[in-house]
């Protein structure tokens, strides 16, 4: 131990460097992140959640939802799609040309070449930006998740294991509040073979009064509670569902561009 004391500056430098890399660097890059502009629109994104939706994040956290669910959509690539908008003065020639060309799955350069060919014949085209990836093919999102998606999430619940589906866009996929509540109370009632444990403690089963509570869950056939009783969500259940319904990562952003599909299939 001739140079015993050099352990301390060495440790300080090693920890300091990793602190710079893991804390200071990211904080400098993303720490001042603000609402971003939505592409080709005057809107900003994300919308700050209010009321129950902000509280719901803490219920989500407290119940360990992130242990089995992620909130991040992955994207493996990007493709361009050339869409004919108007055939122009020479529709026969344009449709002839279009039938011989590959219009989907193009790179930007290929798409530009194709649109030049079509516009040369008088047709007008639009180039659509189409993100591709396994998560997107599953319908879990229109684009990859980026830092802006988590602007108002404290703490961010990214998750790393997908025992259940990704929830980054659950507010778009299943916007029905009753469906979400029934799913929390008895997952198999609405999702067959669901591996999710029921979260019955977020609900109260109580005797039916003179009239059913307006909050009472509407169950599908065969899953209704015993006659004379009803299932009512506690505030926590309403909060977590409000949070889930607020998860909509669907805005095209500069860092994750895409052309929104206007007609949903």
């Amino acid at each position: 131990m001739k140079n015993g004391f050099s352990v301390f500056p060495a440790a300080f430098i090693a920890l300091g460097l990793s602190w710079c890399g893991f804390v200071l660097g990211p904080a400098k890059q993303l720490g001042t992140e603000k609402q971003a502009a939505v592409l080709n629109s005057s809107d900003t994104y994300p919308i700050q959640p209010t009321g129950y939706a902000t509280l719901g994040l803490q219920v989500y956290r407290a119940n360990g939802c992130a242990a089995c669910h992620t909130e991040q959509v992955r994207q493996d690539g990007v493709a361009c799609e050339v869409v004919l908008v108007k055939a122009g003065k020479n529709p026969a020639a344009v449709s002839n040309l279009v039938s011989t060309l590959k219009l989907t799955g193009l790179t930007k350069d290929e798409a530009d070449a194709v649109s030049d060919q079509i516009t040369a014949l008088g047709g007008s085209v639009e180039t659509h930006i189409v993100p591709v990836g396994v998560d997107i093919a599953r319908g879990w999102g229109a684009r990859q998740s980026v830092a802006a998606d988590f602007l108002y999430n404290d703490p961010v619940q990214l998750g790393s294991l997908r025992a259940g589906p990704d929830l980054a866009n659950i507010g778009i996929r299943d916007p029905d509040m009753n469906w979400q509540l029934v799913h929390l109370y008895a997952p198999s009632a609405v999702a067959k073979n669901s591996a999710m444990p029921p979260f019955r403690f977020l609900f109260e089963v109580r005797k039916l009064g003179d009239a059913p509570s307006p909050d009472a869950l509407q169950f599908p056939q065969g899953f209704a509670p015993a006659a004379g009783s009803e299932v009512v969500p506690t505030p926590e259940a309403k909060q977590i569902v409000a949070y889930l319904l607020s998860l909509k990562a669907d805005a095209p952003l500069y860092e994750a561009p895409f052309t929104p599909v206007t007609t949903k299939p």
């Binding site: 660097g25 890059q29 993303l30 592409l39 080709n40 994207q75 493996d76 690539g77 990007v78 361009c80 930007k108 516009t119 180039t127 659509h128 930006i129 990859q144 980026v146 830092a147 095209p252 500069y254 860092e255 994750a256 561009p257 895409f258 052309t259």
Partner: protein
Amino acid sequence: MNDEARSNCPVGTGGEPEATRSAVPMGIVVLTFALLFLGGVYFDHHSGWFNARVYSPYVSGEQLELYQPKSGAAAALAQGKKVYETVCGICHGPDGMGKPGQAPPLAGSEWVNAGGFHRLAQIPLDGLNGDLQVEGKDWNLNMAPMGAALSDSDLAAVLTYIRSSWGNKAGPVSADDVKAIRAVVAGHPAVNAGQLNSIPE
């Protein structure tokens, strides 16, 4: 304890062992730098220079810019830039600064920044011949009708691009404007400064 003292120690009588210094083998030094170089190459290709806006699968800010969906004014400008760089930029320069003795600058030019675009639009449609003053300098020009073969929308886009780039702040030109001007001036021999000045801006 120096080397001489240690060598005097009888074996086994407890002289404390001590690490000696020796040079790092050259192979490891070379390997370290090779790895650093490879790491640098990898970052060059994949990091987008640590740009917080660049996420995989995009590799650079330029590529991300390329994939921005364009619409309306932005699309017209992008188209104008493309046409400019293939048709006009060879002489007038990609930065609009012109070429001495051959093409006057477009950046800051009073012909480009005029309130109206009728004189400007006639130049690519008919060509330009003779003496012309641009930003206080005299030019003797002989420009071919470079824009006569362009479509109305391409020419409008390129005029819009010229009028709004490199510090120019004049208004946009629409394809219908170009169509109207073309209907009047098409086939006219190359204009000169006097003829241009005789038509309203």
